[in-house]
């Protein structure tokens, strides 16, 4: 390529949004043509890291000059972080089903299939790594098991090879709350209640004890406990940003998830949170045992439980740094 064209290349924006067509065969629901929304942030020639979050995450990791609004991974992505879009090219996507238009059973393997179709369309032959938190960890395990040539390294945070049966029961009841509400009000009330129950699974008794240890009040002859303001706000925020169908189908997707750890043959870092009520430490340890010598286990104790990856961003970042060997760093 002529040297005269070089300035054009450097003028290419380092934060790109788009979507690509995917022809999928869903594991439980058959053929589907879908569009997969993605974002890319970072130099075009940098090694690519895929970053995937919880079921309510989306392709927007963090603000840039082009799209300044904060993203779901705002505290984890930035110039001072291991996930530095100056060093890596960070790729992320909207999960299949996240728009609420897909009222079908969705499997984590379907998400991995969508990624496998997205990468070549973006000219990415192989990911330097995949960093998945919560649901993103499940998707990463599926990608590594089903499409091992597409990534060099995997980091899973707070997500295992199976859903824990107790957590599955908890989610099933949240889906029932949505269904109960839908028969009366439309989506908002049941979805808010489902999210409120989910918040209890994302957080811990330690945090609630710290924040909400006060006597309840009586309002119109009904007891209202201190945590209800917080839970109300959490429910309302969620209703504003996630369609009920998306919630139900992605919640189901966690319960459909199953990966045989022996099928994951990549170097894998497993970051577990002691105190996570959705993904017990014992399941993360079992995952690591199944992965064998390919795996490294790092354990964090946090009063934020399952949500530690969103709240303990300094500590998570430090663990990522040792897992990912950022480009350009000597170690």
């Amino acid at each position: 390529m002529p040297a005269a064209l070089a300035p054009v290349a450097t003028a290419v924006p380092t934060h790109v949004r788009g979507s690509h067509r995917a022809e999928l065969v869903l594991r439980h629901a058959g053929p589907l043509v879908a569009r997969i929304g993605y974002e890319l942030q970072g130099p075009a020639d940098a090694p690519v890291l895929f970053v995937a979050g919880g079921i309510s995450a989306n392709r927007h990791l963090a603000g840039s000059a082009l799209w300044p609004e904060p993203g779901w991974a705002q505290g984890l992505v930035g110039a001072q972080r291991t996930l530095d879009p100056g060093r890596w090219r960070l790729l992320s996507m909207d999960y299949l089903g996240a728009d609420g238009q897909l009222d079908l059973p969705i499997d984590t393997a379907d998400q991995a299939q969508a990624i496998a179709q997205l990468l070549p369309q973006l000219g990415i032959a192989q990911l330097a790594g995949f960093v998945g938190y919560s649901y993103g960890a499940l998707v990463g395990l599926q990608l590594a098991a089903q499409h091992p040539s597409l990534l060099q390294r995997l980091v899973v945070v707070s997500g295992a090879h199976r859903p824990h049966p107790y957590a599955s029961a908890w989610r099933a009841l949240q889906r029932r709350a949505v269904a109960l509400g839908q028969l009366q009000y439309g989506d908002a009330h049941g979805l808010a209640l489902a999210r409120q129950f989910a918040m209890l699974s994302y957080r811990t008794p330690e945090e609630f004890d710290e924040r909400f240890d006060a006597a309840p009040v009586l309002i119109n002859g009904r007891v209202r406990v201190p945590a209800e303001d917080y839970l109300d706000a959490a429910g309302a925020r969620f209703v504003g940003r996630m369609p009920a169908t998306a919630f139900v189908r992605l919640s189901e997707s966690i319960d459909l998830h199953r990966v045989d750890p022996a099928q994951v043959q990549l170097p894998t870092t497993v970051i577990a949170v002691e105190g996570d009520r959705l993904v017990p430490l014992a399941d993360m340890v079992n995952l690591v045992e199944g992965l064998g010598s390919r795996a490294t286990l790092r354990v964090l104790r946090s009063a934020y439980g399952h949500d530690a990856f969103l709240k303990e961003t300094d500590r998570i970042d430090a663990l990522l740094a040792s897992a990912l060997h950022p480009p350009g760093e000597t170690r």
Copy 2:
């Protein structure tokens, strides 16, 4: 009394049901005239033990010749048990509000007040002991704090001096499920869902892992997880035996509960279950610390969590035996 009358005295049935009028002043709702249903089982001259259970318990502890149907404490009461109705006179009652007719905030102190009015009407000057499980433990602590002359000894199982803020949030959401259902269907659907969520708090991940570790199934394109059959049955059973108003008001009552342990001046045995998700061991330890030298702590590890008192009846019985010094036993 002439000796000739003795046979009449022994013919008095040892299992008695009845109700007495109580003129109460509810802590949060003012004056109320109520009828308090009770049962007495055991010899009229035996020392009296009050036995109190969870919010859905009632006065019927265990079957006898007169009322053979099994009671909620069936595994804890009997000739081979510490709670032997041949040695003790066992007293129990229907909780205030349990009939669903009282749509008012009810406090555990109101239950204690009802007991304080019931005892003299039954000719009982003082209880030899009070054994309370779960909600019954809260009522026992209130009775000991407010009416210390009425009992000699207290045994509390899986209930503390305060509700844990996380457990309160969990219950508040269950009450919301009831309210959501009531606007559509009447009581059944929301109450069943509330109970199902409650079951998750009564049991543990360990038990669910043991019982429900199988892949989910797809039914009409929806995911159904293995625990749902169990939860459906639990919800349906509950709807058949507890009015929604009773559930809501007694659930609230737990969240209104507060006792200063320093006010409890009786010998007290505290039986805590490690793994209880509603009443964390730390709160039981704090209770014991507040009680000081009057208290003995016994800790049970059980995969049944909060429900251990209903499921680990042999182990609970052994702990009761050492706490209660059954009459007629040499130690």
